[in-house]
Point group: D2
Chain length 272, copies 4
Amino acid sequence: MSDREIVVGIIGTGRIGQLHTKLLNRFVSGVRVEAVCDVVLESAKKCAGIEGIKKYSDDYNDILGNKDIDAVIICSSTDTHAEMISLAASAGKDIFCEKPISFDVDKIKETLKNVENAGVKLQIGFNRRFDPNFVRVRKSVVNGEVGKLHMVRVTSRDPSPPPVEYIKRSGGLFFDMTIHDFDMVRFITGSEVEEVYASGAVLVDKKIGEAGDIDTAAINLKFKNGALGFIENSRQAVYGYDQRVEAFGSGGMVEADNVQSNTVTVSTAKEL
Amino acid sequence: MSDREIVVGIIGTGRIGQLHTKLLNRFVSGVRVEAVCDVVLESAKKCAGIEGIKKYSDDYNDILGNKDIDAVIICSSTDTHAEMISLAASAGKDIFCEKPISFDVDKIKETLKNVENAGVKLQIGFNRRFDPNFVRVRKSVVNGEVGKLHMVRVTSRDPSPPPVEYIKRSGGLFFDMTIHDFDMVRFITGSEVEEVYASGAVLVDKKIGEAGDIDTAAINLKFKNGALGFIENSRQAVYGYDQRVEAFGSGGMVEADNVQSNTVTVSTAKEL
Amino acid sequence: MSDREIVVGIIGTGRIGQLHTKLLNRFVSGVRVEAVCDVVLESAKKCAGIEGIKKYSDDYNDILGNKDIDAVIICSSTDTHAEMISLAASAGKDIFCEKPISFDVDKIKETLKNVENAGVKLQIGFNRRFDPNFVRVRKSVVNGEVGKLHMVRVTSRDPSPPPVEYIKRSGGLFFDMTIHDFDMVRFITGSEVEEVYASGAVLVDKKIGEAGDIDTAAINLKFKNGALGFIENSRQAVYGYDQRVEAFGSGGMVEADNVQSNTVTVSTAKEL
Amino acid sequence: MSDREIVVGIIGTGRIGQLHTKLLNRFVSGVRVEAVCDVVLESAKKCAGIEGIKKYSDDYNDILGNKDIDAVIICSSTDTHAEMISLAASAGKDIFCEKPISFDVDKIKETLKNVENAGVKLQIGFNRRFDPNFVRVRKSVVNGEVGKLHMVRVTSRDPSPPPVEYIKRSGGLFFDMTIHDFDMVRFITGSEVEEVYASGAVLVDKKIGEAGDIDTAAINLKFKNGALGFIENSRQAVYGYDQRVEAFGSGGMVEADNVQSNTVTVSTAKEL
């Protein structure tokens, strides 16, 4: 497939669907966006217009039935992910889908089976696996730089909580936010979690608690390979997005620190 | 008492007793070491000789009965701490004692009661409370710089494990090593632990496991003030002593990083 | 002009001309690239084709004579800059031109006079003024954070020297490379240089010396506002692009450090 | 000499003489302070008393004539250094002397010749050569880590200027302060300066200018080994003592940063 364009169709042109359309259309070589669709026809039309894409529709079957399309990008609402994946797999399309597949574990397993049976590729949108810092940490673990892994830690804090309305539909902190960190520890350790202990608290906003969720979490992990681990989450870090990873082992330690907006240090007479 | 010397006696002149004698004798103004004692007379004699101290003995009663002595420094073996504290308290001496008071909680409580009744001062050797980095972190919490505290984390790793013989008598990782970190989180948060979950592993040295101890630990804490916390321990960090603290709250984050042996950075063409 | 598109024409579609065309065409909103030209028609045609621009030509008069075009981007060879600027100014176009205007100071002055007389805008391609790190340093000077300025230092090293053929036509290290740093110290200090002392050496590659140029320079500056300054240059830093700025004054110091490819630190047992 | 004590005498018990006496007496093993002297007898007596040294005097001949004394530490006023060194050399004593030897170059040469003829050891108090950071930088140069040296830079700023009365007698900024940096660049490069260009300014305090000195300097150096260099000085850095060194060469760069009073970072919502 390296000698020809990959032709893709976008299902769902909300905020994230528009972003994928723009990125694939303008910045990724070897890819062509053939068509977009959204249950709201006007949304699909607008997205297609901005990007100069000729085909748009309010019916995902226009994407799945299009023989020219190799792969679909599923950006529709979470409750439709599992069904869309299964349908796209049946239609023989390779699939990228935003996380999560479903809030229901059995449905996830069933969906993965459908994908397996269809023999197509499926990627879930765990974008942090492509962050150069986290990739570098994983490299240290894989190449033995830190030796046998003893401990992994992920600190993951968002700048500010999403609207309470979003939180209500989000599946909760662990499903909505920690899902990236659960994926990250699997990515870093190359192992699966065997034991988990989690404590949570409502420390950021009482309304989040009233909505039945927590906004702060401290999670203790034990991996199949023997390593221990921590994840710490908060919905609000006032100093900005806080994403750090540390892996510690018999040979040393590797840490990924936050990326700052600039590299400037100011030194003054102020007492610190 | 600021207008005159504090006169002290040292009980126990092993490694740590010698160190306290030297530091008090040479570097601390306003203090005079009057006498030292040790169950091994030769040890007391040698320590006294090096420091030019005239009185030494193999009987702690020579210290406790000396009316000139204001305060005692208890550096004898752990199993004698509780008794020495109680006796010194009865003798009206202020007390500094190395940690721990005892391996037995009831005995600790009884000892503290004796101290209270005697109305003397007691300080346990939690030296990290005087580390400028940790003091600075505590300052951030106390002065409100990080706002209401949500999370505290202590990373505490020793360069290499002590001899297995030591470990057998140490009371175990939590009692011997984490005791400093338990103290540190109380120091930083100004709150008491209400819930604790701990997982341990033998990842550094199998012999530690055979001795009935663990060498790696991951501890999850919940404080009375609502904050969550982590402690992570290892008996071996090959890159050296690793002591870091982070406190996170509604107003921001404060981190104490390790002190390095120099501030030098080398940049070369080597691929990193 | 904020309520309508700026229409631009590109003069010169070599490497940098192609880059400006792409950036303006794809990423900058409020701008439309109307036409491109190059003395090599094929180059202009190819550039236009890639970006979907309809008009291309081998005659810059097609750009200058186009009434729809508000502004021109001059990316032709350095020896044509002065003439192109004057012609574009006469045609009433606003101008962006790559550095330098000319190797001849009198010609530069004459060109600037033409621009002034025409009343159009002229910007020279000193891109580092838009680097967030250097902008932050300037902010510290402007807002008084470092007090009255006493010293400014620019460290500027390229990863590797350009081909000797390029160096021969470059005008030399000071004209080709230090020009950015001379601009940067003016940007940071907001003052003009009154005295300059420079020493140079050939330490990177003898061939650069044989071509009549230097590859390493140490420059001492004195500014009208009384501040002193340094610029240090090298054609080769094996560890990569090295661009740092420091400003020091009565109120403190501000430093911009290099941007690293990742934020990862690895700690091992290796002796450092 | 490693198998017996070095016996020393201190000449001059002002601030620095007292410090050397205390350090040698309490902290340096293998050394015994036999006697101290000062032109002010009371000063010598007090210093001897604090340190428990039996011999003190107001006549340096009591030191030079004492056969037990192996080495002298010269801490008397600068104008006496050259003579004291020569006398001590004649007396066959090894010598440590505070900087500078003299303000007069010919007198320095003559003094060094006397030392050479006497065959004794002479060390001048360039303490920064023993700073672990600068030692590490030198190591990088010596072991080839940075390749062939191209550039060295020393940033040297004091927290605040000395009293103007001191400045008047100091020999000026270059002699009093830069002397350490001139020594440092020789230490780092292992080469001698061949060309020097220096510019100075009075930016910190007008009174320093009125006393005939400068308080800010920018110095450009060229070394025999072909490397270039910079020294930058200021009498006042409001953020504290600022001592940094950077060496750059064909193989890379090594930098020594300042030592901070703690390793703590605070992150808050404040706009930076």
